[in-house]
Amino acid sequence: MRKFLLASAASALVGTGALAQEANIGIIFGFTGPIESLTPNMAASAELALKEVSDSGKLLDGLTLTPVRADSTCVDSAAATAAAERLVTSDNVVAIVGADCSGVTTAVANNVAVPNGVVMVSPSATSPALSSIDDNDLFFRVAPSDARQGEVLANIVKDNGHDEVAVTYTNNDYGKGLSDSFIQNYEALGGTVTINAAHEDGKGDYSAEVGALASAGGSALVVLGYADQGGVGVVRAALDTGAFDTFAFGDGMFADTLLDALGDSLEGSIGSVPWSEGEGADTFAEVAEAAGVDPSSTFTRESYDSAALIALAIQKGGEASREAVAANLLDVANEPGEKIMPGELAKALEILAEGGDVDYVGATNVELIGPGEAAGTYRDYVIEGGEYKTVQFR
């Protein structure tokens, strides 16, 4: 016991000694729970950006950014709040990358980030409700709001000649927000929604949901869920029973695993996914692959950009403090300034150190609008020959 006390006292001393060259950045994702298969790549991407900054040695005279992971669970607001509390109080983080799912993100922002003045940059929370939370300008997101995606998807579905569709959404803040926005826009375009049914993630059986959806009918089934969760369960059951042949997918359904599992049967299905074409995305793919991270996994680009923005805001503010990040994040994200691609963070740090301006483009063409959220470009795709084919960008 005494040894243990001595050891912890010693490590506490070392800890304080190192504080001058080190700052903690919280990474709060759902490492357990419904999206546990996506989060390892997301966290690795965010850590990749932090490592790139730290290794360059150019951040405030060689400051190192240390990632501290915490589990948001994606669904349990109380657990996420407790985890974020720990990041803010005991790990003393400068800023937080996360959270991931819209529900827990709202809880963490309201209960922890805003009261403590800590900036949160979420790579993946897309609920329209997050645009209007009372955030004291502390909440940012690199993912666009689903209010926009609903509009884009409604147009895609209508343009493909579907005038009557059934809608199913995953029963959480993300699914609800997206389905509301989709239905509102789709009906404004003159379409009819025959049924709007929720499905729970991670359940054993979706025959009941598919039965109801099939009975209501429609020329296509709009699935606003997750590709490795209830969404794929509903699609599989709908295909098996012959209830629907054509599907329209929200961004959560975009995944290679979906094609691997059901690719042949999804011929002609359509969908939308936030996308970034061009140089940024390509460079990110190279950088990520070199570091052993899978760049094609969902929200990896956004995660990298979230962490990079925090690092650049620290440099611009000249100190690793919560205030500095809050005050400078929009500056480094938007024009004017030198365009910064993934893998060029060292260059950006140099420019900022000399008093210059940067416009972080990153992997997702970051441009933060309104209350600090991405404007968003969407890829309108169709599944042909078991592959995603781009129709156009919207």
């Binding site: 357990t32 729970g33 419904p34 546990e36 298969s37 029963n171 049924i195 049914a197 929720a198 499905h199 729970e200 991670g202 359940k203 054993g204 059986d205 025959s207 009941a208 949901e209 598919v210 039965g211 109801a212 099939a214 009975s215 209501a216 009918g217 490795d228 794929v232 369960g233 599989r236 059951a237 098996d240 029973t241 012959g242 209830a243 695993t257 691997d260 599992a261």
Partner: protein, 337 residues
């Protein structure tokens, strides 16, 4: 006449066939749970993850067989790999029995202590599965996927509605029937089965008559782990293998075992089908079904859905609460929890 046929096919396709398959999956799971309860007298929360562990072992064995080029025609290779999975799950259960449950058994701890201990075991198994195979979705089904496909059925019969029967659904039912017959034969005809029932009825009397409790406990775990693996693999074949869903499957399995009367094998089977069908029938939208049967112009405008699918889990739990209130022993006279 065609309309009536269409309505029947529609009902079979969306309610009957999925309900029967899901019911068989739940029934197999509930059987194992009920065996543990009858013999060891505690509610095993770790059961869902035992299913995941057994299924995981089977997945690995299946991949090994597939890589070696061994298949069994139209049937899924996983059936061949099943024994390996069962051995894995049995070893895991026995390991936890020796290290955890035996300690409490010797202390004659009350059931609630066992229950809490099994929650700990659940988290350990849970972590173990994620550590070994990871949290991702895995497909290991091969062989023919359908017996009857919806499109073929339409062309064959000329009806407007299709009927689809997946081979895994038929397989689930067939395996469930075989396993249930074997289990009843074991419990009623063999020496060990009778010893097990005696031990379950009255432990002291059973011990006095010379029954070896260690053997009874051993076989109870073997059977429960075997049933868990079979249920887990059939479920994984029908849908896909993902550790997280097994944990979620625990709730309806519990509901099935308790509604049927926990500790009673017949009850577990009846409970499984009752829960499955109540989930599907109460939330089914009867619009299309009725529009075939109703005279022209009388087709309903609304969906004719009793409850939205959001409430499908509430349905099983309402049944559970009602049964416990009015008949605490369950439908088939199990024990009172």
């Amino acid at each position: 006449m065609t309309d009536v046929l269409n309505a029947l096919v529609l009902f079979a396709n969306f309610v009957l066939v999925p309900g029967v398959a899901y019911g068989a999956q739940l029934a197999l799971g509930a059987l194992g749970l009920t065996m543990i309860y009858a013999v060891l007298r505690f509610t095993n929360i770790a059961y869902g993850d035992t299913m995941a562990f057994g299924a995981m072992c089977t997945v690995f064995a299946t991949w090994w067989l597939q890589a070696a080029g061994i298949t069994i025609g139209p049937l899924p290779t996983a059936l061949l790999a099943l024994p390996a999975g069962i051995v894995g799950a049995v070893l895991l259960c026995l390991l936890f029995d020796r290290t955890v449950y035996r300690f409490y058994r010797r202390q004659k701890a009350p059931p609630v202590v066992f229950l809490i201990a099994s929650i700990g075991v659940m988290f350990m198994t849970n972590g173990l599965v994620r550590l070994i195979i990871g949290p991702d979705d895995r497909r290991f089904a091969d062989g023919g996927r359908f017996i009857v496909q919806a499109r073929e059925f339409k062309e064959m019969t000329g009806l407007a509605e299709g009927l689809a029967v997946r081979s895994t659904q038929a397989l689930t039912l067939a395996v469930a029937v075989v396993v249930v017959i074997a289990l009843f034969w074991f419990l009623n005809r063999t020496r060990m089965g009778k010893a097990m029932r005696a031990y379950s009825d009255n432990e002291d009397l059973a011990l006095l008559s010379g029954i070896n409790p260690d053997r009874v406990v051993f076989w109870a775990w073997v059977i429960a782990a075997g049933l868990a693996t079979v249920a887990g693999v059939l479920y994984g074949l029908d849908k896909s293998f993902k550790p997280f869903t097994y944990f979620q499957l625990l709730l309806p399995i519990f509901a099935a075992a308790i509604v049927g009367g926990i500790g009673n094998p017949v009850g577990a089977i009846a409970g499984g089908f009752l829960i499955a069908f109540s989930e599907v029938t109460v939330t089914y939208a009867y619009k299309r079904f009725l529009s075939y049967l109703a005279p022209d112009g009388w087709a309903p405008d609304g969906l004719v859905q009793l409850l939205s699918t959001d409430y499908k889990f509430a349905v099983s739990f309402v049944i559970l609460v009602v049964v416990l209130l009015f008949r605490p022993t369950g439908l088939f006279r199990g024990r009172v929890i």
